[in-house]
Amino acid sequence: MWGILRQRAVVDGGLSLRRTRSALVSARSYAAGSKEMTVRDALNSAIDEEMSADPKVFVMGEEVGQYQGAYKITKGLLEKYGPERVYDTPITEAGFTGIGVGAAYAGLKPVVEFMTFNFSMQAIDHIINSAAKSNYMSAGQINVPIVFRGPNGAAAGVGAQHSQCYAAWYASVPGLKVLAPYSAEDARGLLKAAIRDPDPVVFLENELLYGESFPISEEALDSSFCLPIGKAKIEREGKDVTIVTFSKMVGFALKAAEKLAEEGISAEVINLRSIRPLDRATINASVRKTSRLVTVEEGFPQHGVCAEICASVVEESFSYLDAPVERIAGADVPMPYAANLERLALPQVEDIVRAAKRACYRSK
């Protein structure tokens, strides 16, 4: 089945370019028919429904209220729920994140937005030391039902200080759960699960995916819809090589799988959905089937998510591997501004294709 993906690239905070692109979408991945939803609307509807269902849920962050959200994720929520459920904060991440965690100690369910996760570094002590570790240090007395969400990783042309991916950093911390949606269904199901979850969740979105539309099933549109935390999704089945990735790179991996199919290589694409807990079972089962692994992430290569996946597969499925494990990651440099350099600093579809072919001994 051919699905139409409309991609809206947001440039300079408002102007939009509309490009129509067709892509092959696996018939088994989405229920047959009809409805489509952008990731932005998926996130908005998820927060809306959870606020409606539970009066303890509230939203807090910079520009989430009156401005309708820096990326419009919280659009309409202030009007619908009022200033006692949607809080615009000053630009003080350490302060408002600590306040959010304290509110969670007392049993409320804050959804704290970071305008981008780059700014979360100002508040990282509260995420790690005040939130992640509290349930353990208090032997279960103090749990922290908080969600930290916002765009993560590279956008387009925003430079070194605004482009870092934090998946590896947060996912290394026991006590946190770290989620990374790709599609609209992921966005809805994982965010609803995160808000309902009694533990602290870091929810890594992607700015460039906000405007992307995906088919969405009736089930996913239901207000009770929820995805399990810790389970990866096989986006495309295959038998020759396993490609594991998350967030925006899932789209790139699917395109790479198309190109590989033209050359007779059948790639299985796994969308992690959850970085912590990492679904090692699904990853290893797939590699035991295909014997080859390519891991892809946007973030810095050293000590990344891919490194953990590769180590896990080498430890648990060594004798099944027919080729060395492959990592495709962002370049080992701060993100440059010039468009051509930025392109070189991020994984492209051809990088994933090349690595898969290497794993299949089809190239040097």
Partner: protein
């Protein structure tokens, strides 16, 4: 000490029973009014009256509770030197008046959050001695099952939210607790305690700004013991008038070694916070020990200074003098009470020493409330791997 009215009634002082954990107090709750020795200093508000309404039973309970706290910290000192307590151990002796005075002004539904110097705050919230010593020694019976340690005592059922190791972090957290209280429309407040060292932290000002904007019932309490680790206030703060540092937020400076003054200030602060939003209290206090057990406390202050404060301002001695001058108890009765407290503490230490260490399986418990079948690993993941359920 200024006295406005002497109680000439000789109170039937009940001999305490031998069961050790219960508080033993005189049953006389007739109001007595006592003037604080030191006036309050205020910033952007009218200071409360220096006349504090109390009672014999309350003053007696101050004495007993402070004596218990003092003995606890001294016992912790010995246990640390005997290597039964490891890591960090920050002692509160000298500052007891703050813990008891605050408790006298509030309920167990008002929240308290503090730093790592938390043993006595925990006891003030109703924490048990055996739980405290067990936690210090890393035993199962500890208030955090041995998994927290000295800096991470909690008692959620009494709204005591810890016990925090990162200097200053407890202040935004405390403002968050106050946020939740306001959100839930409860008429309770939060006291966020921090030291003079933490008073310069940026996150304090960030949180206070939000607390003031949103009218949160947050009371920031600076326990000014004059030294942030080894750095005196004049070396760390351009403006060491901590009660004024809230700028647009009202503040009050209090003699923190006077339990009654502390009570009055906290009562005033609670009323203020419920009506007008945040307020800063600066408690002028002192710690006899160094910053922690690894600090002799003598490289940055003289022994004369420490002994001078002990002679002139000790909080327990002040209450003893009060009890004697008001004829609420005799010297012998007070000495007997101290002996009982000492026995209480010694028994608790002995009990704690009997408590076993946590099971090895506890390494992996309480990571999450909802485990979702997640795996966790020991040092050798091929040797030790568990599925959290």
């Amino acid at each position: 000490m200024a006295l406005s009215r002497l109680s000439l009634r000789s109170n039937p002082f009940l001999k305490p029973s031998t069961t050790s954990i219960r508080r033993h107090v005189s049953t006389d709750t007739t109001p007595i009014t006592i003037e604080t020795a030191v006036p309050f200093e205020s910033h952007l508000c009218d200071a409360p009256s220096r006349s504090v309404v109390t009672s014999s039973s309350e003053i007696l309970s101050f004495f007993r509770d402070m004596a218990r706290m003092r003995r606890t910290e001294i016992a912790a000192d010995s246990l640390y030197k005997a290597k039964m307590i490891r890591g960090f151990c920050h002692l509160y002796d000298g500052q007891e008046a703050l813990a008891v005075g605050m408790e006298a002004a509030i309920t167990k539904k008002d929240a308290i959050i503090t730093s790592y110097r938390d043993h006595c705050t925990f006891l003030g919230r109703g924490g048990e001695l055996v739980e405290a010593f067990s936690e210090l020694m890393g035993r199962k019976r500890g208030c955090s099952n041995g998994k927290g340690g000295s800096m991470h005592f909690y008692k959620k059922d009494a709204c005591f939210y810890g016990g925090h190791g990162i200097v200053g972090a407890q202040i935004p957290l405390g403002c968050g607790l106050a946020f939740a209280q306001k959100y839930s429309k409860e008429e309770f407040v939060t006291f966020a305690l921090y030291g003079d060292g933490a008073a310069n932290q940026g996150q304090l000002f960030e949180a206070l700004n939000i607390a003031a904007l949103w009218d949160l019932p947050a009371i920031l309490v600076c326990e000014n013991n004059h030294y942030g680790m080894g750095t005196a206030t004049w070396r760390s703060a351009k403006s060491p008038a901590y009660f004024k540092r809230g700028d647009y937020v009202p503040g009050l400076k209090v003699d923190g070694m006077d339990a009654l003054a502390v009570k009055q200030a906290c009562k005033f602060a609670k009323e203020h916070a419920l009506k007008n939003g945040p307020i800063v209290l600066e408690m002028d206090t002192y710690r006899y020990h160094g910053h922690s057990m690894s600090d002799p406390g003598s490289t940055y202050r003289t022994r004369d200074e420490v002994s001078g404060v002990r002679q002139v301002r000790d909080p327990i001695e002040r209450v003893r003098k009060l009890l004697l001058s008001y004829d609420i108890a005799t010297e012998k009765e007070l000495k007997d009470m101290e002996k009982e407290v000492r026995k209480e503490v010694d028994d608790a230490v002995a009990q704690a020493k009997e408590s076993p260490v946590p099971e090895p399986s506890e390494l992996f418990t309480n990571m999450y409330v909802k485990d979702c079948g997640v795996e966790s690993f020991g040092a050798d993941r091929k040797e030790l791997k568990v599925t959290l359920t």
